[in-house]
Symmetry: C2
Subunit: 405 residues, 2 copies
């Protein structure tokens, strides 16, 4: 947590990964992020992975440091309260983050009637309002067909990490602040729509891959664990440790050749084939049929600890494969990483939890804050943001429109 966005208030009505992660990034940079959910929890409230007691580890991970308001959004009075919160006054308020339907009761057009300079950042599936999720977007982009070993033939391999959701979430946090800059300069708000499918296809294009298939007319082949267009693959050491080894820059390549004592055989390949590997990583990829066996044999002769030390000394780029359990107990990644602090989360479990994934050396890093209990801040928010008195809030409770944790 850092206080860069102190004084900024965001109302979030969202679920799943993309929209809540945008709210998380904003909260971890100091914004007051108020997540409003249906009484009893939104569609992601019990999503896996879950703790033994049924609490969603996923939900408490994506909602750290937010406030929670629980309303009956099935009734007009509950919807009215959410609309009032989203459009409440304040120079650095009127920022609404959502993945609710574009044409529903949270349409920008309707909300804008209450606050003309409202900024709505809306995560969508398809740009036309149709449903799409990370995995259905990914299947349409051609990525699963080029993931995994050649031995799989035409079988697609889905990614496990919801990469499109995550990219969309970070981009939404960016888009929210871009719109805020614009409002500060011009006084005008607007709706910024971010469809997952557009993020997917635009990204493939930004990486040059769409241009590649259009201009060549061919799909890229499946290259297994090899990195396309550079030197990179997994190799196994004498003590059976699998390493990911890459060489993109000249320094990384020279370091690798030196560490593995391959100068002579590499020079021989260069002479025979009339190429030079030092300055062009693409040439290393084109001649991987010769280079991979050399590196494979050399790595297989060496112990992982010696090799790692040598690689580090020479500025090589490498990493060990480890399981997620090993990652969780990796001191550099978690235990001794200042990004993490062990706190008691909302589930009641204590475990290491990350704050902002950026580090700001000149600012104090504030410890991560647990996720809210559902509705924990209902009364506080209704009083502070909408100015409701305790009698009014009590009446809302009596009517079953609001709940506390």
């Amino acid at each position: 947590m850092y206080a860069l966005l102190g004084g900024t208030r965001v109302i979030e009505a969202s679920s799943f990964v993309a929209s809540p992660s945008a709210g998380l990034y904003l909260a971890q940079m100091g914004a007051e992020v108020i997540r409003v959910d249906q009484l009893g929890g939104g569609p992601d409230f019990r999503r896996w992975p879950k703790a033994d007691n049924g609490a969603s580890l996923y939900w408490e991970g994506l909602n750290k440091g937010k406030k929670s308001v629980a309303l009956d959004l099935g009734r007009p009075e509950g919807r009215e309260l959410l609309a009032a919160l989203a459009t409440a006054p304040g120079d650095r308020a009127g920022l609404f983050l959502t993945n609710f339907p574009v044409d529903g009761f949270l349409s920008h057009e309707k909300l804008q009637q209450r606050r003309a300079d409202l900024i709505t950042t809306r995560i969508m599936g398809l740009a036309n309002g149709g449903p799409a999720l990370d995995y259905t977007v990914n299947s349409a982009l051609g990525i699963p067909q080029i993931t995994g070993p050649e031995s799989l033939g035409d079988e697609p391999v889905n990614h496990v990490l919801p990469a499109w959701d995550l990219l969309t979430g970070a981009y939404a946090a960016f888009a929210m602040l871009a719109a805020l800059q614009h409002r500060q300069a011009t006084g005008r708000g607007q709706e910024v729509r971010i469809p997952l499918a557009d993020v997917g296809i635009a990204t493939i294009a930004n990486l040059g891959q769409l241009a590649e298939v259009i201009t060549t007319g061919d799909n890229r082949a499946r290259y297994g664990n090899s990195v396309y267009g550079a030197f990179g693959r997994d190799f196994v050491t004498a003590d059976r440790v699998r390493l990911m080894i890459m060489a993109i820059t000249p320094r990384q390549w020279t370091g690798l050749v030196t560490a593995l004592n391959l100068a002579a055989p590499v020079a021989e390949i260069e002479a025979t084939r009339g190429v030079s590997f030092a300055k062009d990583e693409g040439v290393r990829f084109e001649h991987r049929d010769a280079l991979f066996p050399l590196v494979e044999a050399a790595v297989a002769l060496r112990q992982s600890d010696e090799l790692g030390a040598m690689f580090d000394q020479l500025g090589c780029c490498w990493g060990s494969y480890q399981t997620m359990r090993e990652a969780a107990h990796d001191a550099a990644l978690v235990g001794e990483n200042p990004v993490f602090s062990t706190i008691k989360q909302t589930s009641g479990l204590s475990y290491p939890v990350p704050g902002a994934m950026a580090t700001i050396p000149e600012e104090p890093r504030l410890p991560p804050v647990r996720a809210p209990f559902l509705g924990e801040h209902s009364d506080e928010v209704l009083a502070e943001v909408l100015g409701l008195g305790s009698g009014q809030i009590g009446a809302l409770h009596d009517a079953g429109l609001v709940a506390n944790a």
Copy 2:
């Protein structure tokens, strides 16, 4: 392209995916992004995929709409010019985006001596300054071991999409604007460091997966193309079309059961096993041994076009698998998508190119702008940003410190 960030100037000294993509997002929202490179191009200037004429489709994809300045960064005078650009005055300037080494000539500490309120957003590999790339970060997180079919045993499967680079890039664009908000409020600048490895491990934690392995003590199993904790997998139709079908919300589940006429057999499973699938997607995952064969058989009986129409009508969430070449020729994704316009890119090739991946209904969408030629804007930028006269600029050219396209 949208003009939300008009009047904002960002100096970018970067390479590869993360840092250039952050600059791209800023440029596509209207910022003036000036990318400064070594004469002849940085380490990513010829990266694959490439056009037949040697131009990098990757480079021209990630640098659309930016300006380009080419300097000799190996000499003190060239470094001085870059430092002067990064720290040039202006309320909405002094924004520096880089992945150069944290302790080198572009250290924040050194630059800050020239402009106290400078904001530096720095992409890093490891937080300690050590090298790491997307693939070496990913190997350490445990994702490759749970990607792909069970038949692969312990073989890891690398992702093809550089998901960590992409997430880091979007987050960096967000962090840049968060720091700008802070400077506008307080007058203070700072360096925001974003290490790829921290983005990776924090994200695994944000999704609840780190808590899962810590609290259970076990790694998640490999589930192939099945979506963990919900109903989702690939299925093949009678006409051999492979579909990704998901059901997370109650509506998606009910729609799927209706479309496939599975109400009776699903009810029988529910009765036999004493569970209810309608409201809890996790239960659908736990009983996938019974549900997958039912859906598989029902999908295999139906033609893809009929099924797709039915799914759409019932609000189901699904997508076809298609190759990237098919994606490139998919009218909804590219040809008729207002995000894309066909322009002549810097390589000389004309093809569909995306603008901003967000859509702002109330603002005019400006067409995408090709990437610059290397050094295309050197003279213009030296004159406009540093106020150099034509004689001074000529002398820099004579000294071999600056080049034009």
